[in-house]
């Protein structure tokens, strides 16, 4: 098996749009956007690929911060951004298609924001 080399850079939130535009101009495709809660912050990762080069950039934001949408650069990004909003409660400004919380209709609003299992059952013996 050939392990894939993966680059990950943490960037300033203010540089997000410029960095994503750079990837778009170079011909990279958007592979994924993911959100992870890390303490009192969110890590939001953007993954891109061109000719099997897989690169990631990451911004770290406070839980109540807004981020800018990249759907003006990568049209299909709205699906990830709406998902992040509906599951984590991350506010994304300027989405090209904003479902206003109705893409993934969960019983518990923003159900991934405060993971309900944390501190219960087997997790206590960490």
């Amino acid at each position: 098996m050939k392990p894939e080399n993966q680059e990950l850079r943490v960037i300033d939130t203010a540089h997000l749009i410029g960095e994503v535009e750079d990837y778009r101009n170079k011909g990279y495709r958007l592979v994924n956007m993911s959100c992870t809660r890390a303490g009192e912050e969110f890590e939001i990762s953007y993954s891109f690929e061109l000719d099997l080069r897989f690169e990631n950039i990451r911004i770290i934001i406070p839980l109540d911060a807004d981020i800018s949408s990249i759907s003006g650069i990568y049209w299909g990004a709205f699906i990830y951004e709406n998902e992040m909003h509906d599951l984590f409660g991350v506010h994304v400004r300027g989405m090209n298609i904003d479902f206003k919380g109705n893409l993934i209709r969960t019983t518990v609003p923003y159900s991934f924001r405060n993971p309900s299992f944390r501190g219960e059952g087997p997790c206590q013996d960490r």
Partner: protein, 359 residues
């Protein structure tokens, strides 16, 4: 301009095995816009990493999908193995490749049957599913499970396939391939199939790229994206090139899947010929600490399992990006401008797996 109306499509619909809802904005019989909504069967599997130890989570990962379950488990295992720096034995890589390709055959045949059914071609539907039974029988014989295999684990695989069985599998592929050729001839050359699919639901190469299309949806539009090219499992040692079509319509997406059946058979043959002897797993010590975006090619397209370990036996995060999720924006593009009567066929042409998407 005609008056616009909004027509709901789904979540329950004869062509949809699983629920997804589309609000179709119509002008007369033409779809001018589409608003998808999901969440009817959202299971929150990703949060179960906090409740299950990382070796146990393989079972959860496998149950993300009832069709390509093996590939989900394998992709998750690859991520953990990379984080922990585990060197999986070569034989395990080859076995994973063989089972992955049987999963692809199973999935494509299932889809081809459903697709034929959506066109009202019942005989072709039954023919495709007859061939699928052969694949499921092999999976059952070699893993113990027809749909959920449970044969992949962190560090390798649970089961080996002996040489006699491998030889017989190789020999059996000949008859299987002959039957597939007859079926493929109907899918690719029958007038009624072609007239139902050609020019319908066209996705341009540029739209496929900008919208993030993956798998046969992207390859049907001329975008040669295939995660197997990264060389995971044993793919890096096998001769293989992605199946690509240029027209971007439903026929092209169907043709990609039909031709991938034969590509999968060839990969299985090569794997059986080259599989080395030796161990099938390594011992796993310690807990994962670090992160990795593990990628693989599911039958529907590129799958990403992001895993982040924090040094404990419970992962900090699992993120599963399934191909159907990323194929929803391209679906919206395909539907814009189509005729209402074509919507079911176009929706099915991306091979939507809502169970995966709603993991």
């Amino acid at each position: 301009m005609s008056r616009q109306i909004v027509m709901p499509f789904g979540p329950q619909h004869p062509v949809l095995p699983e629920p997804i809802h589309l609000d179709l904005v119509l002008e007369d019989e033409t779809v001018v816009d589409v608003i998808p909504s999901i969440g009817y069967i959202h299971r929150g599997l990703e949060t179960l990493v906090e409740k299950r130890q990382f070796p146990e989570y393989v079972y959860i990962a496998e149950r993300t999908c009832g069709i390509c379950s093996f590939i989900h488990g394998m992709t998750y295992c690859q991520g953990i193995e990379r984080v922990m720096g585990l060197e999986v034995p070569e034989r395990a890589h080859y076995l994973r490749t063989i089972w992955s390709e049987y999963s692809r055959l199973h999935s494509h045949l299932l889809w081809l049957g459903l697709f034929a059914d959506s066109m009202g071609f019942e005989n072709l539907f039954m023919n495709a599913w007859k061939h699928r039974e052969f694949v499921l029988d092999v999976m059952e014989e070699t893993t113990g499970g027809r749909v959920i295999q449970g044969s992949c684990k962190v560090g390798g695989v649970r089961r080996d396939i002996d040489q006699d069985t491998l030889k017989r599998m190789n020999a059996d592929l000949k008859g299987f391939e002959k039957g597939l050729k007859e079926m493929a001839n109907v899918f690719l050359n029958d007038d009624s199939v072609a007239s139902r699919l050609r020019g319908v639901g066209v996705l341009s190469r540029n739209d496929a790229y900008v919208c993030g299309a993956v798998g046969p949806t992207g390859r049907g539009s001329g975008v040669p994206i295939d995660a197997r090219m990264t060389g995971y499992a044993a793919y890096g040692e096998l001769g293989f090139s992605p199946v690509v079509e240029q027209d971007g319509d439903c026929y092209a997406r169907c043709a990609v899947r039909v031709n991938e059946l034969f590509s999968s058979i060839e990969i299985i043959r090569q794997s059986i010929d080259r599989i080395p002897g030796g161990e099938i797993e390594v011992k796993v010590k310690g807990n994962p600490e670090g992160e990795y975006f593990s990628r693989s090619e599911q039958p529907r397209g590129e799958l990403v399992h992001y895993v982040k370990g924090n040094g404990t036996k419970y992962l900090a995060r699992s993120r599963i990006r399934t191909p159907t999720l990323t194929n929803i924006p391209p679906l919206v593009k395909m539907l814009q401008g189509c005729e209402l009567a074509d919507v079911p066929v176009i929706v099915l042409s991306i091979d939507p797996c809502i169970g995966c998407m709603e993991r």
